[in-house]
Subunit: 340 residues, 2 copies
């Protein structure tokens, strides 16, 4: 068996782990895909009333995941982080390409990886349409495509003064999981099991993104930390914000931690893949109804303000209605930088 | 200065080396790009009469280029290999995403890389619309998008019996350059200078691809070796082929080498990025005219035949009109495998 595996070449492994399953998905529902894996390019046909949203994320071993990460979870997460970007624009998935560098044609790893990858691809009806494989240090690069009715994309630049600022689900659990895996914080096995899916198998909020078309004035997905990411909305929109720290939604597991850890991880944890969006106050009832329909908590955590100085600011109000001073606020707002 | 460079973070380097130049290109000619770098997704608007061609290539240090490769050439080549895939379908470039893993934020490297990248992006009017940067072993993943009138894409699967088989330009020079750089073959400095651009700065045959719409029955770009790549056309089309070995077009520099090296490198060298296509005999005059218009040699090297056995075969005819035996033919037809 080993000798058979070691003889697996590039074309065999594409066929065995990716092409067959891709063809199966497309046979059941070709959707917009006119041509999938196997030619120089894939071909998509586009509904004339729609625009195409495109996003690309590269995941590197040791930086975005542990070198011994469960490959099935990794397959899920690699597509999830891209679908999360589509969700943030209000786009509906059309398909994705996968470029993969692997130290060698490792059958067991590829089988698990493709299992996780196609699990989420099938769940969100987003077929693999092309890509590339090569030998090299482990690197996963996915580019995902979505469609959105013309003019309906939710951009970072649309926030208006007095908009409510909302966040979906809870934030901070992925950071808490990381802290537990790094033994910075001790969690019970039960607590870890409760929250680790937030880090390993995040749920892209695609239904929410689509529901927010025409409702939200701006949105992004929380990948680097809630307040740091919110800053991107403020920068693109030329606005400031006021955030009520104790309103930031946290899981019951995170709520067991110290107040400092709670605030730090929820405000600045990263890897949450929830949506942060702004919408007019008049839309509160509609948004509450969407939350009920999707069975997904949506929490109003503050408001958009006009910009008082040359750059956007976030005023952070603590539970005693006191504004955090600059040093306290900076600590909470530091966004994750892949080169820091 | 060094301290300033070392403080360059992810957001700074995207802004400095990629976003500004991307915005400049889009300001001059937004084309189909509705939203470029800076949001969760880029947005493309698509002409309702067109389809989208998508291709993705990942380049890894030590596998696709030498670790000390000239970063300016690398920037050119990384986009060129993707544009070559668009050319092979007959697509016109719309834009591309770049995902880049770098050991660190190396300003000098990035400046040269982006110079080469934007040189080819500008030449073929293909703007950078989004992407990702991260720390990690050097890895360049580009996904490129092109448009093509509905139903006009030139696929690998369309070859018909009695089609002429054509190849553009000359093949084998990239392999000869590699042999010289590896000191397998000694070349004069003049000879090396004459041919090395074929390896380092390949020319995507976009004008040819567009001219072949409605003319060629099948096409692909020669990236892994002419005869090995031709085999993909035969497999997808369910056909065999007859190739006249001495008709395969070679540069004057390659023609100085031994007959064995000439045949091996031209038939099987790889990294050529010429187009191999098939077209009816009745189109010979039109194709000769295209060759003249584009100032690009187009050479008819053989014909498509019906498949006599269960799998496609390539009969290779030598200059004495003698068919190569299986062993000789196999040597020439071995395609490059990234895991071999």
């Amino acid at each position: 068996m080993q000798s058979q595996i070691s003889r697996l070449g590039e074309f065999d492994l594409i066929q065995r782990f990716f092409k067959t399953q891709s063809e199966l998905m497309l046979a059941n529902n070709p959707g917009s895909v006119k041509l999938g894996i196997g030619d120089d390019c894939a071909l998509l046909k586009i509904d004339p009333t729609e625009e195409i949203a495109i996003t690309s994320d590269m995941l590197v071993s040791g930086r975005h995941f542990f070198p011994d990460a469960n490959p099935e979870w990794l397959g899920w997460k690699a597509l999830a982080v891209n679908l999360s970007d589509l969700a943030a624009m209000g786009a509906k998935p059309l398909g994705f390409t996968l470029a993969l560098a692997l130290p060698g044609p490792d059958s067991a790893w590829l089988e698990a990886f493709s299992k996780g990858l196609f699990a989420i691809a099938n769940q969100y009806n987003c077929p693999l349409i092309g890509g590339d494989t090569t030998a090299g240090p482990l690197n996963i690069c996915i580019t995902a495509f979505g469609s959105i009715p013309k003019g309906k994309a939710i951009c970072r630049s649309g926030a208006l003064v007095s908009d409510d600022i909302w966040v979906s689900g809870t934030v901070g659990d992925a950071r808490l999981t990381l802290a537990a895996l790094r033994h910075e914080i001790e969690l019970t096995k039960e607590d870890l099991r409760e929250i680790e899916a937030h880090m390993h198998r995040p749920t892209p909020r695609l239904d929410l993104g689509i529901a927010l078309r025409g409702l939200a004035n701006s949105a992004l997905d929380v990948s680097d930390g809630l307040l740091g990411d919110l800053k991107h909305i403020l920068e693109e929109s030329g606005k400031s914000a006021e955030i009520f720290l104790d309103r930031i939604p946290k899981s019951s597991t995170l709520l067991k931690q110290s107040q400092v850890i709670q605030n730090q991880f929820a405000a600045n944890g990263g890897d949450d893949y929830e949506l942060c969006f702004t919408a007019p106050i008049s839309k509160r009832n509609v948004i509450t109804q969407i939350s009920a329909d999707l069975n997904l908590p949506l929490t109003q955590i503050g408001s958009i303000k006009s910009m008082q100085h040359a750059t956007p600011e976030i005023r952070i109000i603590d539970k005693d209605a006191k504004e955090l001073d600059t040093q306290e606020a900076n600590l909470l707002m530091k966004s994750f930088d892949h080169f820091a």
